[in-house]
């Protein structure tokens, strides 16, 4: 497996002192804020530095270019997200399948809604860069965690599990993303989640039904 991050996008160096870590946090947060306030195509290294209370030169000590910054931001975000999913999946080991998918939906939805504006900003920022590696790595982790979870369900046959997992995740992730593009109010969002749970449950049942 090649390194997850391409050479050209990798950070120049890692912070060794405490203040450097603080600086980096400030830069990331500033990037989000700039993304939110002026949009992706007016995101400027100077603007980010200004907002972070840092000099441009400082940023360029950690990131070789603007893309690398945005890449790192998304990488960081997906890292947190993947971890959340893994934890949620692990917590459901041995539970009934329906509860599993509901927990999965809830976890993903929750993670995305916590800071909805940030989610939106990041969704837009990704278009600027070559995110294949990023997405693939994330998908692999989510796939693995979900498959492991489902395999432990007592009420599920373990055949075709990979295929079902892939569908589940594609549907859930895609639906949530699309829900963010339309601006659903609280009620509509709740309904959507309910429907989604029903639909996912049906997919899990689809084998056991006709076979009985």
């Amino acid at each position: 497996m090649p390194p997850a991050t391409p050479r050209s996008l990798a950070p120049r160096k890692r912070p060794r002192q405490a203040r450097a870590a603080v600086t980096l946090d400030a830069v990331f947060e500033a990037t989000i804020q700039v993304l939110l306030t002026v949009g992706p195509h007016r995101l400027t290294t100077t603007r980010v530095a200004e907002r972070a209370g840092v000099s441009v030169g400082t940023m360029y000590q950690y990131f070789a270019h603007k893309q690398a910054l945005i890449y790192a931001l998304n990488e960081r975000y997906l890292e947190v997200l993947a971890e959340k999913i893994e934890i949620a999946c692990h917590a459901q080991h041995g539970m009934p399948a329906q509860q599993m998918v509901e927990a999965l939906i809830e976890c993903y939805w929750q993670a995305k809604t916590e800071r909805a504006d940030v989610t939106r900003a990041l969704y837009r920022s990704v278009a600027e860069l070559d995110n294949e590696a990023l997405i693939e790595a994330f998908a692999a982790r989510a796939d693995a965690a979900t498959t492991a979870m489902l395999a432990s369900a007592p009420d599920l046959d373990t055949q075709k599990l990979e295929s079902i997992t892939r569908t589940l995740l594609t549907v859930i992730f895609g639906t949530v993303r699309n829900a963010f593009e339309r601006n659903l109010d609280e009620a509509a969002a709740r309904e959507l989640r309910g429907h989604l749970a029903v639909m996912c449950g049906a997919l899990l049942d689809s084998r056991s039904g006709p076979l009985a």
Copy 2:
């Protein structure tokens, strides 16, 4: 209802002669090609003009700025897509509900897959602009067509139809989009579509089941 296109993004003038229409087509196609070859953030007015075999000045007679060009491109694309959906929905009037959703999925998938690279390029290009109005207008048309179709199904109770329609479209559109971000091979894609049909069917059945 306000005009679908905001003033600042509207085209400057419409072509009145035949050659102007040809020029516009060339410009749109060139925009797609540039989007494909160099990506959204290196899309340059000069580059587009060059590729289209046209002068930059010509482009600026029709579009007030770069954003307006990209906006118009997406508008044109969504117009075609909405029409396809409306036709597909109309063709299913009076049919069983399950067949309806399958036709809907097939239509959307087909439309997106026809020129997969273009689809991907457009998905990315939208991030550059304020697409709320665009998406809302498209969603409204798709919603209307789908609701009308489902209302004509003999095997469906017409309660909660709007809510169900919204879910169906959010799930289908979102899933397809996400499927494009992962690079699914033909087999996986076929499976996904099958699963999606099952899941959508389950949503339609979810009321009639427990009530029987």
